[in-house]
Symmetry: C2
Subunit: 125 residues, 2 copies
């Protein structure tokens, strides 16, 4: 993890790393929807663009929050999955989920959500 920038405050430092509109959504997709491939992230309802997605996957790797590995015999096709540090963001995502469900009208959890599973593997619920 990089050194603090704006201040020593853990909130400010966390926001410096993942405090934007997209990064936590890519983490959400791995953590709660078992997504692993570039094309799977693109299919999420928010419509992330390819360049933002590529940037955020690279960022997550640099931060040690996600790792990639080739899948099957396609050496240039990558699977992405959360590291242990990435998985440690689960309580952050859960409390944000709970707040949004309670305070923002018409929000809901999709049926494909992997409710309370402890891994980010792509298994159906």
């Amino acid at each position: 993890m990089p050194e603090p920038k704006r201040s020593l405050c853990p909130v400010a430092c966390t926001l410096d790393l993942i405090g934007d509109r997209w990064t936590l959504l890519v983490i959400r997709d791995m953590m709660f929807f078992g997504k692993q491939r570039f094309e799977e992230f693109l299919e999420s309802p928010e419509g992330i663009s390819t360049n933002i997605l590529a940037n955020r996957l690279k960022l997550l790797e640099e931060l040690g929050l996600a790792e990639k590995q080739p899948y099957s015999n396609h050496a240039r096709r990558m699977n992405y999955h959360l590291t242990e540090t990435g998985k440690s963001l689960r309580p952050v995502l859960k409390v944000i989920t709970a707040w949004g469900l309670k305070h923002i009208a018409n929000t809901q959890i999709p049926q494909s959500h992997l409710l309370d599973t402890s891994t980010s593997k792509a298994t159906e619920p």
Copy 2:
């Protein structure tokens, strides 16, 4: 609270409202440091600019997360404080604080932090 935009996901919707590098820091200042006045927010170590601060205070009012009221006999000088909905973000800030302290090197809680008080009033710890 406004209607969802990018999707119905509570995480995406929460990020649409407060998912930027500054909004949660203004909420932090009210919640954990008892700050109420424009000048007090400017003094925080992250060095928020006057225009970003004015924008975020207005946003927090529009979202119903904070309210302003004139203080003393200066009709144009305002105090800002969190509404009940704003205070409901306490678990979000606490879990982000805990994550940052654990995973980002050299982060720390300032001594002026109002540890575990339940209000945002400007009292010394």
